[in-house]
Amino acid sequence: MALVAGRRRREHGIAWLAIAPAVALLILLLFGPILAVAVFSFTDWQIGSSSLRFLGLDNYRALFADGVFWKALANTALYVAIVVPGTVILGLAVALLIEARPALRSFYRAAHFLPVMSTMAAMAIVWSTMLHPTIGLVNRLLAEFGISGVNWLRDERTVLPALAVIGIWQSFGFAMVLFVAGLKSIPQSLFDAAAIDGADGLLDRLRTVTLPMLGPVTMFVLILTAKRAFEVFDTVRVLTKGGPNFASDVLLHRLYTESFDFLRTGYGAALTVVYLAVVMLLTRAQARILDRRVHYT
């Protein structure tokens, strides 16, 4: 008995020693900072300044009265609304095509995954030369068909869709890989059963077995893609800085600009809290959907 109790105490001690660094850092670098952001958001503090005044909800009031904030929020929503369906549909189509036959399978998979690995800051610059009004590939191609292209990244109407296409380019290979994993986990017996029921054509199999079985993976890809799309920053910073006339400004770029270009810490903190709330809401939706998936299966 005493031996067991001693052993327990020893295990306790060792466990606490093992988790101590992680716990200290969780407080110092994760939860402390979240608390700090919330506190900053109620003050007029600026980085480096020694005075601090409590403002209550003034920062939030200013934020919600700021047209640029609403513009950035709307732009972010529109960007997500283009990138998410584009990525999911293209990723699913490519995954189905790749898995349909073995020929060149691994080549196709690697080729589509390349953009996922690439440094976006560098590839964004490459895209800017491709979208260049005169020497760019896109307008050269359009000219072949007698269409005169626009200055994609300097035109208020086209800048956000152009950034969204770059976003789809970067993430559809990622969606493809997750869909391929989903496809591989569909048991062959289901296809056999469908074949017995007379569904042995490609489209029949797709409709009766493949797509229904991919439901959960699709939900998962949808949420992951949405999360990544909400975090769009690199292309905006490198290519447009939110312009022209805020037509491509997004939440995270606003957060960066207010906090670190203009050094309005309190205001930036309020923006951070709003950004955090949006992302958390999305994650809650994710948890709920994953829950439902568990109940259904």
């Binding site: 306790h12 060792i14 466990a15 093992a18 988790i19 660094p21 992680a22 716990v23 850092l25 969780l26 670098l29 994760l30 900072p33 979240i34 700090a36 952001v37 980085i47 480096g48 490519v94 095509l97 349909a100 036959r101 020929a103 060149l104 196709y108 998979r109 690697a110 080729a111 995954f113 953009p115 996922v116 690995m117 690439s118 440094t119 976006m120 800051a121 560098a122 590839m123 610059i125 895209w127 030369t129 491709m130 020497i135 590939l137 050269r140 380019w169 290979g173 990622f174 890989v177 998962f220 920053f233 490198v238 995270l252 960066y256 906090s259 670190f260 930036g268 951070t272 950004y275 955090l276």
Partner: protein, 285 residues
């Protein structure tokens, strides 16, 4: 009788399907790869060819040597790559040092507060790292660490994802292995580093690739943490080079992009399967 007949009628259809598949995939492959081809093509061309109305994939006059020379002399490209390597390695090393013991305790030891700690880790998974930028900046400012390597590394020391992934992996390791090690007289920390760590190499590799890819490509935090060009990581270095005088010229700019993008792409091409598995495994947890 029916089987061979059926095969002969299916065969042309199957061949058509195969061709259609290649046709469609060629289009999407082009979409994925064109920016890389375009980048390499321009990086080999003299300025007048880049601006001429007729486009050729291959340069008429090879200007690649000059473009790459301008890129590496105008900006410290090798510094950017070495900084990337050093910062990513340091981040992953520290993450491992912090996460592995904690994950082991969460998976294999009984102690008060274990469930609480685990739910705190799960909560931490939900926090987007960009939301921590302001307090991290303030913290580093207070300690006078802004614009140092420490500023690039320290905020990432703790990874709730790392703890979570390693805990899941350790849980699947049978207790007998640990009991045997205890009977051999090994202390708990010896068990962590000398027994569990070698077993956990697959999980560590997966998390390592994920961590390195994320921090090599990260622009948001380096943009905040450092001003000094000599400390820039690849993504930030690329941006500084673009805004520099030499970056006004498309040829050298594309050469610079090739240099920045190449290391991860090459690593990926060498270990494709591992990369794909690791990214999808880590993301799906």
């Amino acid at each position: 009788m029916t089987a061979p007949k059926r095969r002969s009628t299916m065969s042309p259809r199957l061949r058509m399907e195969g061709l259609a598949r290649h046709g469609a995939l060629l289009l999407t492959t082009a979409f994925a790869l064109v920016p890389f081809v375009w980048m390499i093509s321009l990086s080999l061309k003299p300025p007048e060819e880049i601006f001429q109305p007729a486009f050729h994939l291959l340069p008429q006059t090879f200007h690649g040597f000059d473009n790459y020379r301008i890129a590496v002399t105008a900006a410290p490209m090798h510094r950017f790559l070495l900084n990337g390597l050093f910062v990513c390695a340091a981040i992953f090393f520290l993450q491992m040092l912090v996460c592995v013991p904690c994950a082991y305790a969460l998976a294999k030891l009984r102690f008060r507060g274990r469930d609480t700690l685990f739910s705190v880790v799960l909560l931490g998974l939900l926090i987007p790292p960009q939301a921590l930028a302001i307090p991290h900046f303030v913290l580093l400012h207070v300690f006078g660490l802004l614009d140092t390597y420490a500023a690039l590394i320290l905020p990432w020391m703790i990874s709730t994802l790392g703890i979570f992934l390693m805990r899941q992996f350790f849980r699947a390791i049978p207790d007998e292995l640990i009991d045997a090690a205890r009977l051999d007289g090994l202390g708990e920390f010896e068990i962590i580093w000398r027994v569990m760590l070698p077993v956990a190499v697959p999980a560590l590799t997966a998390f390592g690739i994920f961590s390195v890819v994320a921090h090599w490509n990260d622009l948001f935090w380096p943009l905040i943490a450092v001003r000094n060009e000599d400390l820039s990581t690849p993504a930030l270095g690329m941006l500084l080079f673009r805004d520099d005088e030499a970056g006004q010229f498309t040829g050298p700019l594309m050469a610079g992009a090739v240099i920045i993008v190449a290391p991860l792409i090459l690593a990926f091409l060498f270990a494709q399967q591992r990369f794909i598995d690791s990214i999808s495994f880590t993301a799906s947890n």
